[in-house]
Amino acid sequence: MAELRYRRLQTLNRLPRLMGNHYLAARYLRYVRPVAWITSGAPVEIIRAMGILPVYPENYGALCGSRQAAGTLCQVAEARGYSRELCSYAKCNLGSLAEPRQAPLGGLPRPTVLVACNNICGTVTKWYQALARDLRVPLFLWDTPFSPGELTDGGVAYAAAQLREMVRFLERHTGHKLHQDRLNRVMDKSREASRLWSEIRLLGRHRPSPLNASDLFIAMAPIVVLRGTDQAIDFYRELKAELAGRVAKGEGALPVERYRLVWDNIAIWHKLLRFYGQFLDHRACFVADTYTGGWGTVMEGDDPLTALARTYTGVFLNRGLAYRASQMVELVRDFGAHGFVMHANRSCKPYTLFQYDIRRMVTEQTGVPGLVIEADMADPRSYAEEAVKTRIQAFMETLDG
C-alpha cells in the first residue's frame, strides 16, 4: 500500500510548551500556592477562582500511557496489592507515588487537598480515598446523582448544595477565599473555551474532514487541564483558525478521505499513531468521537453554582443507555459516517459497559456497521496487535462491500 502522509496541524506544535509550563508551574508554584488534585469531571472553575492550582492525575495517566510508562507503573501498583482490573489511570498515579523514579516528570507535585467527583465513575471515589489515606490529605467527594433520563431539578439542587459545602471545605483547608466576581470571570473563560472546543469538533462535518479524532485527542489537553484560563482560549482560537483555513481550501486531515468513522471511548494513548495509522492505510478518517465531546458543553444559567452543578451532573458518563445510544446515532447522522469503532476499554467500566447494546441500537437506527476493539487506554498489556489488526482489516473489508 502506498505510503500516505498524515497532515499534521501546526497549532499542535505549541502543545508541548503549553502543557510543559502547566506541569512546571505546578511543581514550583506549589511552594506559594495550594495544589488540588482533581478528577476530570470536577468543577475546576471554583478551584481556579480560589487561586488553587489544579492538577489532574487522569491527564497524568494519559501522559504515562503515551510515554510508554504505564505498563511499568501499573505493575508497581499491582505489586502493592491493587487489582489488575483497576483503572490504569489510577494505577499510574498510585504507582508513580510508590516509585517516583520510574514515573514521567518524577510524578505529580504533592497536593494540599483532593477533590473527586463521581460523575465519571465510582473508581475515583475509592482511588481518591486511597490517596487521602496514603498522603494524609483532606478529600472532598462531590456526589452527582446518576441520571438515567433527564436531569431533575432536585438532583441539580442536591449537587449545587454540596458545592457550597465544597467551597467551605476549600476555604478551611487552604485559607483562600472564593470571590464571586473572580468565579464569574473564570466561568466566562471556561464557557469561551468550551464553545471554541465544540465549534472545532463540529468542523469534522466538512467533507473532507479537516481533522481526525487523533488530532482531537492530542488537542484536548488544554480543555481538560487549562479550562478557565486565557491560554486555553488562545490555543483553541488558533486551532480553529487553522482548521477553518483547511476547510476553505477544501483540504482534509487525510490526503484521501474514503471512509468517515465515529470513535467511541477513550483514546488508546500508548498506540496513538500506530493504531490510528492503520485506519489511514484504509483512507478512513475519524470525523467525530464521543470522548472529546465530554468537554464541549457550554455552561448555562445565571447562578454560577447551579450552572456548574447542572453541567457536571449532566456529563455523558453519568447518563443512561438511551442517552449514550442517541448521542452516537446523532454523531453518525450529523457527520455522515459510514461506520463506527468502539474501544472496549478494559480500564473504564462505565464507558465500556453498554457498548454491545449501543452498537446494536446504533446499527439498527442508522444502518451503519460498528466494530468493537479490545484494548486499554494506557496499559499496553491488554493489547493484542495481530488480533486488533485482523479485526480492523475485516471491518474495512465489510465497508468495501
Binding site: R359, R360, T363, E386, A387, T390, Q393, A394, E397, T398
Partner: protein
Amino acid sequence: MFFAGVDIGSTAVKVVMLDQQGKVVGCETTRTGYRGAENAWHLLKGLLAAQTGVTPEVWGRQGGDPAKLPVRVVATGYGRHKLAQAHRQVSEITCHARGAYHLEPGTATVIDIGGQDSKVIRVAQGGTVLDFAMNDKCAAGTGRFLEVVAGALEENVDSLGRLAVASNQPVAISSTCTVFAESEVVSHIAAGSSKENIAAGLCLAVAERVAGMAGRIGVQPRVVMTGGVAHNRGVVRALATMLGLPVEVLPDPHLVGALGAALLARDAFANNQPKT
C-alpha cells in the same frame, strides 16, 4: 492463469488452487510450524508443478516473484502478511464468508472456529460480510482451547468430539481460561468422571462461548460451520442445541478459508480484465 488461496493459520497452512473456470484443481495442507510462509510457498510450488509440468525447482529459482507466476495469490490467516508470493491480503472473515457462500449459496451465518480465533459471520447475498463478531479477551472458545484440554485426556480435537457424542451426562467446565480448564479436567478425571462426559463438557464450554458471541450479531439460518473444529461432532451438536438451529458442516471445513481466498483472487482478476 490459476488462482490460489493460501490460508496461513496459527495451526495449519491450507492452499487451494482453482483454474480459470473456477474448478478446484488441487489443495494441500501442512502444519504452520515456525516457517509458515515458507511451508505455504512449498505447497504452492508443488501444486503449480502438478498443473504446469514445470518442476518446483524452477519456480523456486525464480524466487517466487509474484509478477512472474502464472497464478494470482490471495493470502489470508494470521500469516497473511508474511507470504512474499501473495498479490493481496484479505482477512479470514471475508474469505470464510466467500468460501462458505460458494459451497452453500443459502448461507446466512458462518461459524468458524479456528486455532486462535472463533468468529460468527453474517453473510449477505453474494457472499459478502454484513457483520461479524470475534472472540474477545483470550483464546477461550477456540481450537487451541480444545487442543490443550484434549491433550489432558490423551485425545485430539476430532476424537474428543466422537467421545462427546457418546456422553449421557456432560460434566460442568466453568473456567473459560484454557489453563484453568485443563486443571478442571484433571480434577474431573480424579473424581472418576468418564472420558465421554468430560469430553462433552469441554465441547459444551466451547459452544457456549461461541453461542454467546453469536447472540451479539444475531443468527440467521442457514448456519454453516467452517474451520478445523467443525470436524469435532461434539461441538457442532452442542452449538446446534444452543442456537436452536441446525448447524451444517461444509465438506472439508478446514479448507473453506483458503477456498474463499482463491475465489477472491479469481474475482479480482476477472474484474481487471478488459470487458469484451
